[in-house]
């Protein structure tokens, strides 16, 4: 009998809920003892229940509460999904090219690393000049942030293809294309999926950050958060917007995780 047991559902849900309860408790304590004046406190760090009553409520009003937040969310969702799709397609294509030719890999990979390390926010004026201030530049920022994990994980997967499997294909005298489609890409699938999962979280950050800096075109949740930051009376709305954006990020991560796990769960060892 196996001694290793999967943690029960109860432990899986109870433990994170306990962490959440602690977090909320610390929040209340800190907010209570750190501010003398209740108005000052609300405008700096509102209580969690105030975020719900003053930020998310009313639910259906056109100007205040949840409905405008969701309205601002929609453009961000679009940019995230579109940007992520571009990052996945382009990232896989680049990784395949780098895998086909050592020279291409040598020529491109350092810049993939640079992409990851360059502070995107610092080059926003340049990006604005190149791609305008509307959809284009938002997509560029999202893709720049999301593409690196796709490239590195796909390339790692392609290059980790089992040498004996390569020999097996060599014995059948296959073309480079057959080797790529029948052997290398399927072998790379598990790590490719990991790359996509990481990229899905990054893409959300990318599109929200882009909203902060590019104010023309369809305004997203980042714009909502930024404008609510500027008036302290709207602090609960700012928190509500931030929480909504985070929930979207978590949903993206879970959804992509679910899809990617399903794609390989039948045969992949780790489950």
């Amino acid at each position: 009998m196996s001694r290793i047991r999967r943690p029960s559902l109860r432990v899986n849900t109870l433990l994170p809920m306990a962490t959440f309860a602690c977090f909320i408790a610390v929040w209340y304590l800190y907010a209570t003892f750190n501010y003398d004046n209740p108005v000052q406190r609300r405008n700096a760090l509102p209580y969690p229940h105030e975020i719900i009553t003053d930020g998310f409520m009313p639910v259906t009003d056109k100007v205040n509460g949840l409905r405008p937040i969701l309205g601002y969310m929609w453009p961000t969702v679009k940019v995230t999904i579109l940007g992520l799709s571009i990052a996945i397609t382009l990232g896989i294509a680049l990784a395949v090219l780098m895998n086909l030719s050592r020279s291409v890999e040598r020529a491109l990979f350092p810049y993939a690393v640079v992409l990851q390390t360059v502070p995107i926010l610092a080059i926003t004026p340049l990006l604005t000049q190149l791609f305008g201030e509307e959809l284009g530049v938002r997509l560029v920022v999202t893709v720049l942030i999301a593409i690196f994990p796709v490239i590195t994980n796909t390339l790692f997967g392609l290059q980790s293809t089992d040498q004996m499997h390569h020999d097996l294909f060599t014995l059948s005298h296959v073309s480079r294309r057959t080797r790529l489609w029948r052997l290398e890409l399927p072998s790379a699938l598990p790590s490719l999926m990991t790359g996509i999962r990481i990229a899905s979280g990054s893409a959300v950050i990318g599109s929200v950050v882009a909203d902060f800096f590019f104010v023309k075109g369809e305004k997203g949740i980042g714009y909502y958060i930024r404008t609510r930051q500027q008036k302290s009376i709207e602090r609960p709305e700012m928190f509500a917007g931030t929480i909504t954006a985070s929930i979207f990020g978590v949903l993206m991560f879970l959804l992509v995780g679910w899809v990617t796990t399903r794609a390989i769960r039948d045969w992949h060892d780790k489950d």
């Binding site: 499997h165 097996l168 014995l171 045969w267």
Partner: protein, 252 residues
């Protein structure tokens, strides 16, 4: 036994004066001569690192020799690796189909061939399983079936059963002999196990430590079909003893 016709035309693999030196200067094989007639089951035993696997890689064309001639029909070659090398994302049936698929066989024919091969290795009923659901012995059977699909004239076996437990190994030895008798292929088999070599082969060759050469040859005269219990006969033990003595020389 079929009458032995012209020696040249009946040869499944002929290696003449083969030498191989790697780029780093290591001499792996030195002036090696080897001939596998069709219908023969030839096994090579030798100390580890003596270049046995290298020899198979040369025969299959995965490696090129520095000197000498290798005469073999590479379009009709089955290679069974030490590891089952199944593609984890394919089911048993799709794995068995692989070689036929890569050779460009159409779907209905390769499906038929795959099903026949699966039956030959006693894997029927497991067609839709993935490799991770199979035991070590079943994986090796699947690997064997994959090579059988194209009905090659010559099989190269690179210690295929080395990682299996004793019982499974003996069982697969029996099945392999059964296939050898029914499918009429020639075999070049590599193993560490003298007992396995004697049980399977028509001829056992002993290879020296690096640089590898053939230093002894033993014809094994037990008639086929061979009963599993011949392993416990005294004449079986006697020939194992002779090969073991040659191996001791090979090590030095």
């Amino acid at each position: 036994m079929p009458p032995i016709a012209d020696e040249m035309s009946d040869s499944a693999l002929r290696m003449t004066n083969i030498s191989l030196t790697f780029a780093d200067g290591t001499q792996a094989l030195d002036n090696l001569n080897l001939n596998v007639q069709s219908g023969e089951f030839v096994t090579i035993v030798g100390p580890s690192g003596c270049g046995k696997s290298t020899l198979l890689r040369l025969a299959s064309g995965l490696l090129a020799q520095t000197q000498g001639l290798c005469d073999v029909d590479r379009t009709s070659l089955g290679y069974v690796f030490q590891d089952p090398t199944l593609l984890p994302w394919r089911t048993v049936r799709r794995n068995v189909e692989l070689n036929a698929e890569l050779a460009g066989m159409d779907k209905p024919s390769r499906l038929k061939a795959a099903n026949a091969a699966i039956e030959l290795v006693n894997l029927t009923g497991n067609e839709d399983k993935y490799p991770k659901q199979l035991s070590g012995g079943m994986k090796m059977r699947c690997s064997l079936a994959r090579s059988l699909v194209l009905q090659p004239n010559l099989f190269l076996f690179d210690e295929p059963f080395a990682a299996l437990d004793e019982i499974t190994r003996e069982h697969l030895n029996d099945e392999l002999l059964h296939l050898f008798q029914n499918q009429n292929f020639a075999s070049l088999f590599i193993t560490h196990s003298i007992q396995e070599a004697v049980f399977l082969s028509t001829r056992v060759l002993v290879m020296s430590a690096r640089p590898g050469r053939i230093i002894a040859e033993h014809a094994i005269d037990f008639p086929y079909p061979r009963h599993p219990d011949i392993r416990y006969q005294s004449d079986f033990a006697e020939i194992c003893g002779k090969i073991s003595a040659d191996l001791k020389v090979a090590h030095s």
